[in-house]
Amino acid sequence: MQITKPQIDDFKTDRKDIMHPLPVILRLVPLLFYCSIGVTLILGSIFFIQSRIAEANKNAHIEQTASLTSQTEETLKERTALEAKIKKANDVQAWVSSSRPIQPLLVDIARSIGPKSSILDLRLERVPESPAQIKLALRLATDSTKQLDLTLESINRMNFRTFSPVQALGHGELDYRATLVRQELREKAETP
């Protein structure tokens, strides 16, 4: 069926007026949009790359820190082991210092006794709290203290000093007690 021209025109609505143009400032908005895309791409790339670099640096520092921490722990372990060894060495040294031969002292005391005197009783005993110190208890058959002086000289020559001496003379017997302390204990390292 054919529609006549006037009928077609009837379908059209009335055309409105053309809209007003945008103000000049708003015309910059599309331009700003394109610029912002460009700036975002450029700056975004820069920031992204810098972030990656910083991330890589951070990881490298963390790895290095872990390695250094591990080295510190090893050093601490070594130090702890060395300290234990030093402690043991000190203990051993304390024992060795307190176990110096006592026989030379006995022999010297015996040799110091003159023909007119004799040893009735002689005791050398280490002080339990300080074994490097020796308690001397000597009972001599003698009439004077001259023999004791000779014996003490002999003890001094062995680098022992006497402390807290007590002596009693009577009935031809001389009783002498003292604590002996060896001098220059740490002068040089002892060897077996």
Binding site: T40, A54, K58, L68, Q71, A89, P101, I102, L120
Partner: protein, 178 residues
């Protein structure tokens, strides 16, 4: 407001989103850089710490060199006799081989006080009566032969025969902790 204004508003929103994205990337970069700086600081601290510890260790090694050498020398001596049985056998052999008149001998293990590295010792109590020269020589030989052994006490008195002496002594053989 017409459609042009609406379009402008939509484009402005997009611009704001782009600015926001850029700022977000910038913040991420700053955060990453701060974290990297913090990690660098931690590394620097760790380096200082390890350097300090190594320095202290080397100082300690230098200061204790003599003591450690002392321990090295003596350790072998302490290791020679490190059980109560071996110490007892050793003392018994020394007494038997001396040919001296041995009146009594007894052995017991005791704890050592105040020396954590030497936990115990074999305590030997010996009584002799013989020639005084031989006895003193024997005691000297024992002290030389067993450098770690300690004479706790020695008591000399007259013997029952002329020229003899009675020697009572307590000897301590340390048994070092391994």
């Amino acid at each position: 407001m017409n459609s042009k204004h609406i379009s402008c508003a939509i484009v402005a929103v997009f611009i704001a989103i782009l600015i926001q994205v850029t700022l977000s990337l910038k913040n991420n970069r700053l955060k990453a850089q701060q974290e990297a700086r913090a990690a660098e600081q931690q590394e620097s601290d760790a380096l200082d710490h390890v350097t300090k510890e190594r320095l202290q260790l080397s100082d300690l090694k230098r200061q204790s060199a003599d003591l450690i050498e002392f321990l090295r020398i003596w350790q072998s001596q302490f290791d020679l006799i490190n059980t109560a049985q071996s110490a007892e056998v050793n003392f018994s052999m020394l007494v038997r081989n001396s040919g001296l008149v041995n009146l009594a001998q007894s052995f017991r293990t005791e704890a050592v006080k105040g020396n954590p590295s030497i936990l115990s010792e074999l305590h030997a109590e010996l009584v002799f009566e013989d020639d005084y020269i031989q006895l003193l020589n024997w005691l000297g030989k024992v002290e030389n032969k067993l450098p770690t052994m300690r004479v706790r006490d020695v008591h000399i008195s007259k013997g029952s025969r002329p020229g003899d002496i009675r020697l009572e002594t307590s000897l301590e053989q340390p048994l070092i902790a391994k």
